[in-house]
Amino acid sequence: MTQPNNSQRLWMYEQMLTSRYMEESIERIYMEGKTPVFNMAKGPIPGEMHLSNGQEPCAVGVCAHLDAGDIVTATHRPHHIAVAKGVDLNEMMAEIFGKATGLSGGRGGHMHLFDGRVNFSCSGIIAEGMGPAVGAALSRQMQGKPGVAVSFIGEGAANQGAFHETLNLAALWKLPVVFVIEDNAWGISVAKASATCIAQHHVRAAAYGMPGVFVENNDPDGVFRASGEAIERARAGGGPTLIEIETYRLAGHFMGDGETYRPEGEKDGLMKKDPIPGYRQRLIDEGVMTEAQAEDIAARARGRIDEAVQFARESPYPRPEEALEQVFV
C-alpha cells in the first residue's frame, strides 16, 4: 500500500487548510446582509450554500493522486474538492459571488463550478456527476489517452438510480473511473440509517463486480492509501473501484439550517474530531512538520483565500443582458 510521503502529507494539510479558510470566509461573508432576517436572496453571496467543513480529507486524499488532466465530478458540496483539484481560487470565489470574472461569469454559482483547465465540474442534482465521470473515462479509453475520472458523491446519492446504472456500466466496460462516497451520515435531515437498508455502501461494489473499499475515521492518510490503489488500478486498465469514506459534516446541510434533527451532542462530538487540528498534530508529532512550518502553511493558505476574496469583492458584476449569451457556443 502506498503511504503518503512527507511532501504529499504537507500538500494534503495545506489543501485542507486552504479549503477550510475558504469555507470560513464564505460563511462570514454569506451572512452579510442576511441579518437580522435571514433571507437567502440577500448579501454578497446569495443562494444556497453547502459548506464542506469536516470533509476535507476525502478531497485531498484522492486529489493527491490526480493531475490537471484527470477528471473530477463533484456534488452540491464542492468547495473542498475544487480546491484540492486545483481550480483557480480567485475565479471560483468570484463565481460564488456572481461576478463577471467568475469561472462562468456568474451563471453557475456555488453548485455549478466548471473549470475545464483542470477538468473539474459539479452539479446540484444528486448523483448527476456519475454519468459524466463514466463518460470521460470512456472517452480516455476510446482515445487511448491517459487519465482517470473520479466521481465524488454523498452517501445519500447511493440510493439514486444513476448510482447503480453507472457502476454497472463502468464495470462492464472496465473504465478508468473511481467512485468516491463521502459518507457524512446525513442527507439533509435524513440519517443514513433511515434511508439505507445496509450499514455501509462499499459492499454494494460486489454487486457490480468491482472492488469496494471502506476508509474509516475521516483519515487523510487512509483516503490517500485507498484511493492511491484504486487510481493506480484504473490507470493500469484494471477498471473501476468504489471507495466509501467515513467523514463528518461539521456544518449544517446548508447555511441557515437549524440542524434540529441532529441527536443531542452529536455536533459537539464531531467538532472534537475535526480532521484539521488532528492532522496538524499528527504531522508535528511524527516530525513531518514543525510548528513554524505549520504557521507558514497557514499564512500561505490564508493569503490565497484573502486574495481570492479581495479579487471577488473588487470584480464587477456582469451586465444583466449577458444572461442571454453562452446558451450555445
Binding site: V37, F38, N39, M40, A41, K42, P46, G47, E48, G98, K99, G102, G105, G106, R107, G108, G109, H110, M111, H112, S123, G124, I125, I126, A127, G156, A157, N159, Q160, G161, A162, G187, I188, S189, V190, S194, A195, T196, G256, T260, Y261, Y317, P318, R319, P320, E321, E322, A323, L324, V327
Partner: protein, 340 residues
C-alpha cells in the same frame, strides 16, 4: 358592540399542511412520502407538524430515490391508497420523469379508466433567490403539456388549502406546484399577498376554475402562482396612468379554464400573460392561442407575454432579476402592445 373576529391568516406552507392533516384525519388511506418531509416538516414547511400527529408510517421520509417512491406511489394509488408525494424541487423531475409521465399520467388511460391513480405529486417551483438553473425552474408548461395529469398552481394560502383538499380527493393524479416565494418561509423572502385568511374547516377550490382577482376594463393580465402578485402590482401602477387592469389567476393549468380568460378578454380587448416559466412553448403561448383561436376579433391590440427568456436560469442576481417577470415589465408590455 361587534368585535370582529380576527380572521385567521395562514402562510401557503401552513395551509398546505393543514389540508393534508385534515384529509389524513378523515381518510386513513392518505399518506405522505418524500425527502425531508418527516421530522423536518419539508424543506419548504408544507408538511410541518404532520410527523408528530401521524407518525412515521404515514409520514414517510424516503431515500433520495425519486424514481422508486414516485413509482411506488402510483402502485399504492392503484391498489387503493391515496399517496401524496413530494418532489422537493420541480427541477429534479429529470431523475424520475418516467414514473411521472409514462406511469402516473398514463395508467388510467391504459386501463381504460378502470384503474384510477388517485395521488398528488407536489413540487416547489420558482426563482428569485439565486439558486441557479437546477433549483429555480417552474416547468409549468412541461407538466401541463403532457396529458393525463391535472396541474394546479396556487397563488395564495386560501387557494393552496382548497386546491390541496381537492387534489387529495380527486381520483386522478394531480401535480401540485407551489412557488417558493409564496410559502411564507422568511428565508425565501416572502410575498405578503400570499398569506391570507384561511377557514379552519376543510373546503375545496374546484380544480379547473380560474378566478378574477381584480376587476378591470382595459386589459386582462392573466397569470398563475407568483406571477399573480406581479400582475396585481402592475394593475395598481397602471391605475395611476388611468388604465383599468383585470387580473386573472389561472389556479389550474389542467384542466385550463379557457372560457374564463376568453370572457375577460372579450370585455377588455387586451391580453398580457405573465409567466415565470420559459417564454417559448409554454403557458403564455397556450393562453394567447386559446384566445386568438376563439375569436381574433376580440383583440384591440397585439397580445403580449412577460415570461422568462429561453435561457437556463442564471445564478448571479444581476442576471436573474433582470430576466424574471416583474410589475414594471408588465406595465411596459401594456404600452408596447399599442405600438406598431
Amino acid at each position: 358592540m361587534t368585535t370582529a373576529v380576527k380572521e385567521r391568516k395562514l402562510t401557503v406552507a401552513r395551509a398546505m399542511a393543514e389540508a393534508v392533516a385534515q384529509e389524513m384525519r378523515l381518510d386513513p388511506k392518505v399518506f405522505v412520502m418524500g425527502e425531508d418531509i418527516g421530522q423536518l416538516g419539508g424543506v419548504f414547511g408544507n408538511t410541518r407538524g404532520l410527523y408528530d400527529e401521524f407518525g412515521k408510517t404515514r409520514i414517510r421520509d424516503t431515500p433520495i430515490s425519486e424514481t422508486a417512491f414516485i413509482g411506488a406511489a402510483v402502485g399504492a394509488a392503484s391498489d387503493g391508497m391515496r399517496p401524496i408525494v413530494e418532489l422537493m424541487f420541480v427541477d429534479f423531475f429529470g431523475v424520475c420523469m418516467d414514473a411521472i409521465y409514462n406511469l402516473m399520467a398514463k395508467n388510467t388511460y391504459f386501463s381504460g379508466g378502470k384503474i384510477p391513480v388517485p395521488m398528488v405529486l407536489m413540487a416547489s417551483t420558482g426563482a428569485g433567490y439565486s439558486d441557479a438553473a437546477q433549483h429555480s425552474q417552474c416547468l409549468y408548461g412541461t407538466f401541463a403539456h403532457l396529458p393525463g395529469m391535472k396541474v394546479v398552481v396556487p397563488s395564495n394560502a386560501y387557494d393552496a388549502k382548497g386546491l390541496m383538499t381537492a387534489a387529495i380527493r380527486d381520483d386522478n393524479p394531480v401535480v401540485y406546484l407551489f412557488h417558493k416565494s409564496l410559502q411564507g418561509m422568511g428565508w425565501l423572502g416572502t410575498e405578503k399577498g400570499a398569506t391570507v385568511p384561511v377557514p379552519e374547516e376543510p373546503y375545496i377550490v374546484e380544480i379547473g376554475k380560474a378566478k378574477t382577482v381584480r376587476e378591470g376594463r382595459d386589459v386582462s393580465l392573466v397569470s398563475l402562482g407568483a406571477g399573480v402578485h406581479h400582475a396585481l402590482r402592475a394593475a395598481a401602477q397602471l391605475e395611476k396612468d388611468g388604465v383599468s387592469a383585470e387580473v386573472i389567476d389561472l389556479r389550474s393549468l389542467v384542466p385550463l379554464d379557457r372560457e374564463h380568460v376568453i370572457a375577460s378578454v372579450r370585455k377588455t380587448g387586451r391580453l398580457i400573460v405573465i409567466d415565470e416559466d420559459y417564454h417559448s412553448f409554454g403557458v403564455s403561448g397556450e393562453i394567447i392561442a386559446s384566445v386568438v383561436e376563439h375569436d381574433i376579433g376580440m383583440l384591440k391590440a397585439r397580445p403580449q407575454r412577460v415570461a422568462f427568456p429561453d435561457i437556463p436560469i442564471p445564478f448571479t442576481p444581476v442576471m436573474e432579476q433582470w430576466a424574471l417577470p416583474n410589475a414594471d415589465k408588465i406595465v411596459a408590455a401594456y404600452h408596447a402592445m399599442h405600438k406598431e
